[in-house]
Amino acid sequence: MAPNTGPVRAQNNRSGGILVYLLVLVSLQIFMMVVAVEGVMSHNASLATAAAVFSVLTTAMAFGFRWFITD
């Protein structure tokens, strides 16, 4: 009999969704940061403000996602 090596990996019902979410979220936030810095450098306050609004919205969505998942 095979030794007890814990749960069999194939039976785990997990998805790569969270990894995709991580990549998308962090990439988006880095992008927003770059846009905001460009707004500062080029004296374009509206560009920086738009980037900040999107960044805060993205964080709010991340918060919503955390609330949505249960385990």
């Binding site: 095979a2 030794p3 007890n4 090596t5 814990g6 749960p7 990996r9 785990n12 997990r14 969270i18 979410y21 991580l22 979220l25 962090v26 936030q29 880095i30 927003m32 940061m33 905001a36 810095v37 460009e38 707004g39 500062v40 450098m41 080029s42 004296h43 374009n44 306050a45 560009l47 920086a48 403000t49 980037a51 900040a52 960044s55 805060v56 993205t58 964080t59 991340a62 918060f63 996602f65 955390r66 998942i69 249960t70 385990d71």
Partner: protein, 186 residues
């Protein structure tokens, strides 16, 4: 750590030991792996919810940084400058430039006297990524050496290269033979 968590951690550690005994770990597997049992057998003990806590913290840190940058950009644009003496008009020949700072000492600016004697003043910061631009009378253009951006000296409009927005204009006036800056054009 509550009892249930302690029990789970101990289980995972035992799993790692069993893997070693079963020969699934290489003989030279470092010892720390027994005490840090996040192997494929143990990783299901990290909950997605716990994981997203760090994700959320990272996202919030970025949002704070981006909001800070936006606040900074808005403060910068709020300073439209006060009237400031630049230079006597006869010290700037036709087809030449005069460098000054406006609205603050940290903002390089460019006064241009076009070949026909007209005066123009612009912020010297390129609207692409903020490099310092300069006037090239021989080519009748304002040039940014960083990425070869080109601006029209009579209007400040971007005509070639990566910049898409015009240079920021400074309102000027000649009073008693002296050129004054009156404020940034909004």
């Amino acid at each position: 750590m509550d009892d249930a968590e302690r029990r789970r951690a101990a289980d995972a550690r035992n799993s790692a030991r069993e893997l070693r005994r079963a020969g699934l770990y290489a003989e030279d597997e470092p010892l720390w792996k027994e005490d840090f049992p996040l192997t494929s057998a143990g990783e299901e003990y990290i909950q997605r919810r716990q994981f997203t806590r760090y994700l959320l913290a990272t996202s919030a840190a970025f949002a704070v940084g981006t909001a800070g940058a936006a606040a900074w950009a808005n403060l910068q644009s709020a300073n439209h400058g006060e009237a400031q003496r630049i230079v006597e008009l006869d010290k700037v020949a036709n087809g030449s430039e005069y460098l000054f700072s406006y609205p603050t000492d940290k903002d390089p600016a460019l006064l241009i006297r076009l070949p026909d004697g007209e005066l123009r003043a612009f912020s010297q910061k390129c609207t692409h990524l903020g490099c310092v631009v300069y006037y090239q009378p021989e080519n009748e253009r304002i040039f940014c050496p960083c990425h070869h951006g080109v601006f029209e000296p009579s209007t400040g409009d971007a005509t070639a290269g990566p910049p898409e927005r015009p240079l920021q204009k400074i309102d000027i006036e000649v009073r008693n033979g002296v050129v004054w800056a009156k404020g940034m054009e909004v």
